[in-house]
Symmetry: C2
Protein backbone atom coordinates (compact mmCIF):
# COMPACT_ATOMS: atom_id res chain seq x y z
CA UNK A 1 0.00 0.00 0.00
CA UNK A 2 0.91 3.57 -0.56
CA UNK A 3 1.46 5.64 2.54
CA UNK A 4 -0.25 9.03 2.77
CA UNK A 5 3.14 10.67 2.57
CA UNK A 6 4.01 8.83 -0.61
CA UNK A 7 0.65 9.76 -1.98
CA UNK A 8 1.24 13.41 -1.24
CA UNK A 9 4.70 13.28 -2.77
CA UNK A 10 3.39 11.65 -5.90
CA UNK A 11 0.56 14.13 -6.36
CA UNK A 12 2.94 16.97 -5.77
CA UNK A 13 5.34 15.64 -8.38
CA UNK A 14 2.52 15.17 -10.85
CA UNK A 15 1.23 18.66 -10.31
CA UNK A 16 4.70 20.06 -10.69
CA UNK A 17 5.09 18.28 -13.99
CA UNK A 18 1.71 19.59 -15.13
CA UNK A 19 2.72 23.15 -14.33
CA UNK A 20 6.02 22.63 -16.09
CA UNK A 21 4.32 21.33 -19.18
CA UNK A 22 1.99 24.31 -19.22
CA UNK A 23 4.95 26.67 -18.88
CA UNK A 24 6.95 25.07 -21.68
CA UNK A 25 3.94 24.91 -23.93
CA UNK A 26 3.25 28.62 -23.57
CA UNK A 27 6.90 29.50 -24.04
CA UNK A 28 7.14 27.42 -27.22
CA UNK A 29 3.80 28.51 -28.66
CA UNK A 30 3.83 32.19 -27.83
CA UNK A 31 7.41 32.98 -26.94
CA UNK A 32 9.07 33.32 -23.56
CA UNK A 33 7.90 36.87 -22.99
CA UNK A 34 4.34 35.55 -23.02
CA UNK A 35 5.22 32.96 -20.39
CA UNK A 36 4.63 35.15 -17.36
CA UNK A 37 3.95 33.59 -14.00
CA UNK A 38 0.42 34.85 -14.29
CA UNK A 39 -0.12 33.19 -17.68
CA UNK A 40 1.46 29.93 -16.60
CA UNK A 41 -0.59 29.84 -13.42
CA UNK A 42 -3.78 30.49 -15.34
CA UNK A 43 -2.98 27.70 -17.80
CA UNK A 44 -2.17 25.32 -14.96
CA UNK A 45 -5.28 26.42 -13.10
CA UNK A 46 -3.53 27.56 -9.95
CA UNK A 47 -2.99 30.93 -8.35
CA UNK A 48 0.23 32.82 -9.08
CA UNK A 49 1.14 32.52 -5.43
CA UNK A 50 0.87 28.76 -5.62
CA UNK A 51 3.25 28.68 -8.55
CA UNK A 52 6.03 29.65 -6.17
CA UNK A 53 5.15 26.80 -3.87
CA UNK A 54 6.27 24.50 -6.66
CA UNK A 55 9.15 26.41 -8.19
CA UNK A 56 11.66 28.78 -6.65
CA UNK A 57 11.84 30.74 -9.87
CA UNK A 58 10.17 30.97 -13.24
CA UNK A 59 13.26 29.64 -14.95
CA UNK A 60 13.08 26.50 -12.89
CA UNK A 61 9.71 25.72 -14.39
CA UNK A 62 11.18 26.18 -17.86
CA UNK A 63 14.07 23.82 -17.20
CA UNK A 64 14.06 20.03 -16.97
CA UNK A 65 14.17 18.39 -13.58
CA UNK A 66 17.85 17.80 -12.85
CA UNK A 67 18.42 14.06 -12.48
CA UNK A 68 21.03 14.57 -9.75
CA UNK A 69 21.83 16.93 -6.93
CA UNK A 70 25.34 18.38 -6.81
CA UNK A 71 26.17 16.71 -3.50
CA UNK A 72 25.38 13.18 -4.55
CA UNK A 73 27.30 13.75 -7.72
CA UNK A 74 30.43 14.46 -5.77
CA UNK A 75 29.68 11.61 -3.40
CA UNK A 76 29.96 9.31 -6.38
CA UNK A 77 33.57 10.31 -6.81
CA UNK A 78 34.63 10.21 -3.17
CA UNK A 79 32.93 6.84 -2.86
CA UNK A 80 35.29 5.27 -5.35
CA UNK A 81 38.19 3.12 -4.14
CA UNK A 82 41.11 5.35 -3.22
CA UNK A 83 43.69 3.33 -5.12
CA UNK A 84 41.80 3.50 -8.39
CA UNK A 85 43.48 5.70 -11.02
CA UNK A 86 41.85 9.14 -10.95
CA UNK A 87 40.88 9.12 -14.55
CA UNK A 88 39.08 5.80 -14.12
CA UNK A 89 37.12 7.21 -11.20
CA UNK A 90 36.12 10.27 -13.19
CA UNK A 91 35.12 8.10 -16.11
CA UNK A 92 32.86 6.12 -13.84
CA UNK A 93 31.21 9.30 -12.59
CA UNK A 94 30.73 10.59 -16.12
CA UNK A 95 29.16 7.28 -17.14
CA UNK A 96 26.77 7.50 -14.22
CA UNK A 97 25.91 11.03 -15.26
CA UNK A 98 24.93 9.90 -18.73
CA UNK A 99 23.02 6.88 -17.47
CA UNK A 100 20.98 9.01 -15.11
CA UNK A 101 19.98 11.42 -17.82
CA UNK A 102 19.01 8.76 -20.32
CA UNK A 103 15.51 7.97 -19.01
CA UNK A 104 14.61 11.65 -19.28
CA UNK A 105 16.04 11.88 -22.77
CA UNK A 106 12.75 11.84 -24.62
CA UNK A 107 11.04 14.34 -22.34
CA UNK A 108 14.08 16.51 -22.88
CA UNK A 109 13.16 17.41 -26.43
CA UNK A 110 10.94 20.43 -25.75
CA UNK A 111 13.49 21.83 -23.36
CA UNK A 112 16.26 21.46 -25.89
CA UNK A 113 14.19 23.29 -28.46
CA UNK A 114 13.32 25.98 -25.93
CA UNK A 115 16.93 26.48 -24.98
CA UNK A 116 17.92 26.63 -28.61
CA UNK A 117 15.64 29.60 -29.03
CA UNK A 118 16.44 31.24 -25.71
CA UNK A 119 19.95 30.43 -24.49
CA UNK A 120 19.61 32.74 -21.50
CA UNK A 121 16.92 30.60 -19.90
CA UNK A 122 18.77 27.83 -18.16
CA UNK A 123 21.82 30.01 -17.74
CA UNK A 124 21.39 31.06 -14.17
CA UNK A 125 20.37 27.89 -12.40
CA UNK A 126 22.65 25.75 -14.50
CA UNK A 127 25.74 27.88 -14.12
CA UNK A 128 25.39 27.88 -10.34
CA UNK A 129 25.06 24.12 -10.17
CA UNK A 130 27.83 23.60 -12.66
CA UNK A 131 30.42 25.70 -10.90
CA UNK A 132 29.46 24.09 -7.62
CA UNK A 133 29.92 20.62 -9.03
CA UNK A 134 33.14 21.48 -10.81
CA UNK A 135 34.66 22.99 -7.70
CA UNK A 136 33.67 20.09 -5.51
CA UNK A 137 35.03 17.58 -7.99
CA UNK A 138 38.20 19.59 -8.24
CA UNK A 139 38.64 19.50 -4.48
CA UNK A 140 38.20 15.76 -4.45
CA UNK A 141 40.56 15.18 -7.37
CA UNK A 142 43.44 17.29 -6.09
CA UNK A 143 44.24 14.95 -3.23
CA UNK A 144 44.25 11.83 -5.38
CA UNK A 145 47.54 10.08 -6.14
CA UNK A 146 48.67 10.25 -9.74
CA UNK A 147 47.68 13.87 -10.14
CA UNK A 148 50.79 15.72 -11.21
CA UNK A 149 49.69 19.26 -10.37
CA UNK A 150 46.89 21.79 -10.10
CA UNK A 151 46.49 22.12 -13.83
CA UNK A 152 46.36 18.38 -14.23
CA UNK A 153 43.54 18.23 -11.71
CA UNK A 154 41.63 21.04 -13.40
CA UNK A 155 41.95 19.52 -16.84
CA UNK A 156 40.91 16.10 -15.65
CA UNK A 157 37.74 17.49 -14.15
CA UNK A 158 36.78 19.85 -16.92
CA UNK A 159 37.57 17.36 -19.64
CA UNK A 160 35.56 14.47 -18.23
CA UNK A 161 32.70 16.71 -17.24
CA UNK A 162 32.81 18.33 -20.65
CA UNK A 163 32.90 14.94 -22.29
CA UNK A 164 29.74 13.90 -20.46
CA UNK A 165 27.86 17.06 -21.40
CA UNK A 166 29.10 16.86 -24.98
CA UNK A 167 28.02 13.24 -25.28
CA UNK A 168 24.50 14.08 -24.15
CA UNK A 169 24.22 17.11 -26.39
CA UNK A 170 25.57 15.27 -29.42
CA UNK A 171 23.29 12.35 -28.69
CA UNK A 172 20.24 14.60 -28.69
CA UNK A 173 21.32 16.00 -32.04
CA UNK A 174 22.45 12.90 -33.88
CA UNK A 175 20.42 10.20 -32.17
CA UNK A 176 23.50 8.10 -31.49
CA UNK A 177 23.60 6.55 -28.02
CA UNK A 178 25.27 8.85 -25.53
CA UNK A 179 27.15 5.98 -23.92
CA UNK A 180 29.07 5.21 -27.11
CA UNK A 181 29.86 8.84 -27.74
CA UNK A 182 31.18 9.11 -24.21
CA UNK A 183 33.55 6.18 -24.66
CA UNK A 184 34.73 7.71 -27.90
CA UNK A 185 35.47 10.91 -26.00
CA UNK A 186 37.43 9.04 -23.34
CA UNK A 187 39.60 7.43 -25.98
CA UNK A 188 40.36 10.81 -27.50
CA UNK A 189 41.24 12.28 -24.12
CA UNK A 190 43.51 9.39 -23.23
CA UNK A 191 45.37 9.36 -26.53
CA UNK A 192 45.61 13.13 -26.71
CA UNK A 193 43.84 15.59 -28.95
Amino acid sequence: MESPQQRRDRRRAEKQQAIRRAAVRIALDQGVEAATVEAISAAADISPRTFFNYFASKEEALSPDPPWRPEEFVGLLTGRPGDEPVFESLKAVAREFVVRIRPAMEDLEPFVELRRRHPELAAKARAVDETKVLESLLGAVRSRPGVTGPMHARLLVIATFGAAISAVQESVLSGEPAEELLEEAFTLLERGL
Copy 2:
Protein backbone atom coordinates in the same frame (compact mmCIF):
# COMPACT_ATOMS: atom_id res chain seq x y z
CA MET B 1 43.83 66.73 -29.19
CA GLU B 2 40.91 64.84 -27.85
CA SER B 3 37.75 65.03 -29.87
CA PRO B 4 34.50 65.76 -28.02
CA GLN B 5 33.32 62.29 -28.82
CA GLN B 6 36.42 60.75 -27.29
CA ARG B 7 35.97 63.00 -24.31
CA ARG B 8 32.39 61.83 -23.86
CA ASP B 9 33.40 58.21 -24.22
CA ARG B 10 36.17 58.57 -21.70
CA ARG B 11 33.99 60.30 -19.12
CA ARG B 12 31.33 57.70 -19.63
CA ALA B 13 33.82 54.90 -19.08
CA GLU B 14 35.16 56.59 -15.98
CA LYS B 15 31.71 57.09 -14.56
CA GLN B 16 30.83 53.50 -15.29
CA GLN B 17 33.90 52.36 -13.42
CA ALA B 18 33.00 54.61 -10.51
CA ILE B 19 29.52 53.13 -10.30
CA ARG B 20 30.97 49.65 -10.52
CA ARG B 21 33.38 50.32 -7.70
CA ALA B 22 30.57 51.66 -5.56
CA ALA B 23 28.51 48.55 -6.29
CA VAL B 24 31.29 46.11 -5.49
CA ARG B 25 32.23 48.00 -2.37
CA ILE B 26 28.70 47.83 -0.98
CA ALA B 27 28.36 44.17 -1.91
CA LEU B 28 31.62 43.27 -0.19
CA ASP B 29 31.07 45.46 2.87
CA GLN B 30 27.40 44.84 3.54
CA GLY B 31 26.53 41.76 1.51
CA VAL B 32 24.86 41.47 -1.87
CA GLU B 33 21.36 41.84 -0.51
CA ALA B 34 22.31 45.32 0.60
CA ALA B 35 23.54 46.16 -2.88
CA THR B 36 20.21 47.27 -4.30
CA VAL B 37 20.09 49.53 -7.31
CA GLU B 38 18.86 52.27 -5.04
CA ALA B 39 21.79 51.90 -2.63
CA ILE B 40 24.35 51.72 -5.41
CA SER B 41 22.90 54.76 -7.11
CA ALA B 42 22.94 56.72 -3.89
CA ALA B 43 26.57 55.77 -3.25
CA ALA B 44 27.53 56.71 -6.80
CA ASP B 45 25.52 59.90 -6.54
CA ILE B 46 23.23 59.25 -9.47
CA SER B 47 19.54 58.54 -9.79
CA PRO B 48 18.39 54.91 -9.96
CA ARG B 49 17.14 55.55 -13.45
CA THR B 50 20.58 56.64 -14.55
CA PHE B 51 22.08 53.44 -13.23
CA PHE B 52 20.36 51.60 -16.05
CA ASN B 53 21.86 53.95 -18.58
CA TYR B 54 25.20 52.47 -17.66
CA PHE B 55 24.33 48.85 -16.98
CA ALA B 56 21.69 46.62 -18.49
CA SER B 57 21.35 44.74 -15.21
CA LYS B 58 22.52 44.95 -11.64
CA GLU B 59 24.66 41.85 -12.12
CA GLU B 60 26.57 43.57 -14.88
CA ALA B 61 27.71 46.22 -12.43
CA LEU B 62 28.90 43.49 -10.08
CA SER B 63 30.90 41.72 -12.79
CA PRO B 64 34.19 42.75 -14.38
CA ASP B 65 34.17 44.32 -17.80
CA PRO B 66 34.60 41.43 -20.25
CA PRO B 67 37.83 41.98 -22.19
CA TRP B 68 36.35 40.56 -25.39
CA ARG B 69 33.02 40.33 -27.17
CA PRO B 70 31.89 36.87 -28.29
CA GLU B 71 31.96 37.79 -31.97
CA GLU B 72 35.52 38.97 -32.10
CA PHE B 73 36.54 35.93 -30.16
CA VAL B 74 35.22 33.68 -32.89
CA GLY B 75 36.69 35.93 -35.54
CA LEU B 76 40.07 35.13 -34.09
CA LEU B 77 39.58 31.49 -34.98
CA THR B 78 38.12 31.93 -38.45
CA GLY B 79 40.89 34.42 -39.21
CA ARG B 80 43.53 31.74 -38.82
CA PRO B 81 45.09 30.14 -41.93
CA GLY B 82 42.85 27.33 -43.14
CA ASP B 83 45.65 24.81 -43.51
CA GLU B 84 46.86 25.24 -39.95
CA PRO B 85 46.18 22.21 -37.74
CA VAL B 86 42.98 22.84 -35.76
CA PHE B 87 44.54 22.37 -32.40
CA GLU B 88 47.19 24.95 -33.20
CA SER B 89 44.52 27.46 -34.17
CA LEU B 90 42.62 26.84 -30.97
CA LYS B 91 45.78 27.18 -28.95
CA ALA B 92 46.40 30.56 -30.54
CA VAL B 93 42.89 31.69 -29.64
CA ALA B 94 43.28 30.49 -26.06
CA ARG B 95 46.59 32.32 -25.76
CA GLU B 96 44.97 35.50 -26.98
CA PHE B 97 42.20 35.00 -24.43
CA VAL B 98 44.70 34.83 -21.58
CA VAL B 99 46.73 37.77 -22.88
CA ARG B 100 43.63 39.95 -23.08
CA ILE B 101 42.62 39.21 -19.53
CA ARG B 102 46.05 39.81 -18.06
CA PRO B 103 45.98 43.63 -17.85
CA ALA B 104 42.74 43.43 -15.87
CA MET B 105 44.15 40.77 -13.57
CA GLU B 106 44.82 43.05 -10.62
CA ASP B 107 41.48 44.82 -10.77
CA LEU B 108 39.96 41.38 -10.86
CA GLU B 109 40.65 40.66 -7.22
CA PRO B 110 37.50 42.17 -5.66
CA PHE B 111 35.35 40.43 -8.23
CA VAL B 112 36.99 37.10 -7.53
CA GLU B 113 36.33 37.55 -3.84
CA LEU B 114 32.76 38.60 -4.53
CA ARG B 115 32.12 35.61 -6.73
CA ARG B 116 33.65 33.33 -4.15
CA ARG B 117 31.03 34.48 -1.69
CA HIS B 118 28.15 34.57 -4.15
CA PRO B 119 28.58 32.11 -7.00
CA GLU B 120 25.18 32.96 -8.44
CA LEU B 121 26.20 36.49 -9.37
CA ALA B 122 28.04 36.18 -12.63
CA ALA B 123 26.11 33.08 -13.51
CA LYS B 124 23.55 34.54 -15.85
CA ALA B 125 25.56 36.88 -18.01
CA ARG B 126 28.55 34.60 -18.12
CA ALA B 127 26.69 31.45 -19.00
CA VAL B 128 24.97 33.15 -21.92
CA ASP B 129 28.23 34.42 -23.33
CA GLU B 130 29.96 31.16 -22.69
CA THR B 131 27.48 28.96 -24.50
CA LYS B 132 27.38 31.45 -27.35
CA VAL B 133 31.14 31.37 -27.71
CA LEU B 134 31.35 27.61 -27.36
CA GLU B 135 28.72 27.03 -30.01
CA SER B 136 30.28 29.45 -32.44
CA LEU B 137 33.70 27.93 -31.97
CA LEU B 138 32.20 24.51 -32.43
CA GLY B 139 30.65 25.53 -35.71
CA ALA B 140 33.96 26.88 -36.94
CA VAL B 141 35.89 23.82 -35.83
CA ARG B 142 33.64 21.20 -37.36
CA SER B 143 34.50 22.13 -40.92
CA ARG B 144 38.25 22.10 -40.35
CA PRO B 145 40.36 19.32 -41.85
CA GLY B 146 41.86 16.91 -39.36
CA VAL B 147 38.74 16.77 -37.23
CA THR B 148 37.76 13.13 -37.09
CA GLY B 149 34.15 13.53 -35.96
CA PRO B 150 31.61 15.53 -33.98
CA MET B 151 32.95 14.38 -30.63
CA HIS B 152 36.46 15.27 -31.63
CA ALA B 153 35.31 18.79 -32.48
CA ARG B 154 33.42 19.15 -29.21
CA LEU B 155 36.32 17.96 -27.12
CA LEU B 156 38.80 20.19 -28.91
CA VAL B 157 36.68 23.23 -28.20
CA ILE B 158 35.74 22.46 -24.62
CA ALA B 159 39.25 21.36 -23.69
CA THR B 160 41.07 24.39 -25.04
CA PHE B 161 38.45 26.78 -23.73
CA GLY B 162 38.51 24.98 -20.40
CA ALA B 163 42.29 25.14 -20.37
CA ALA B 164 42.20 28.90 -20.84
CA ILE B 165 39.67 29.42 -18.04
CA SER B 166 41.52 27.04 -15.78
CA ALA B 167 44.82 28.80 -16.39
CA VAL B 168 43.35 32.15 -15.44
CA GLN B 169 41.63 30.81 -12.34
CA GLU B 170 44.69 28.94 -11.17
CA SER B 171 46.83 31.97 -11.86
CA VAL B 172 44.65 34.14 -9.65
CA LEU B 173 44.95 31.57 -6.88
CA SER B 174 48.61 30.64 -7.06
CA GLY B 175 50.13 33.75 -8.58
CA GLU B 176 51.89 31.78 -11.28
CA PRO B 177 51.74 33.38 -14.72
CA ALA B 178 48.68 32.26 -16.63
CA GLU B 179 50.65 31.88 -19.85
CA GLU B 180 52.87 29.18 -18.40
CA LEU B 181 49.96 27.33 -16.88
CA LEU B 182 48.24 27.42 -20.23
CA GLU B 183 51.19 25.86 -22.01
CA GLU B 184 51.35 23.21 -19.33
CA ALA B 185 47.69 22.46 -20.02
CA PHE B 186 48.29 22.16 -23.75
CA THR B 187 51.05 19.65 -23.18
CA LEU B 188 48.75 17.56 -21.00
CA LEU B 189 46.00 17.66 -23.59
CA GLU B 190 48.32 16.69 -26.42
CA ARG B 191 49.92 13.81 -24.58
CA GLY B 192 46.65 12.60 -23.13
CA LEU B 193 45.34 12.71 -19.60
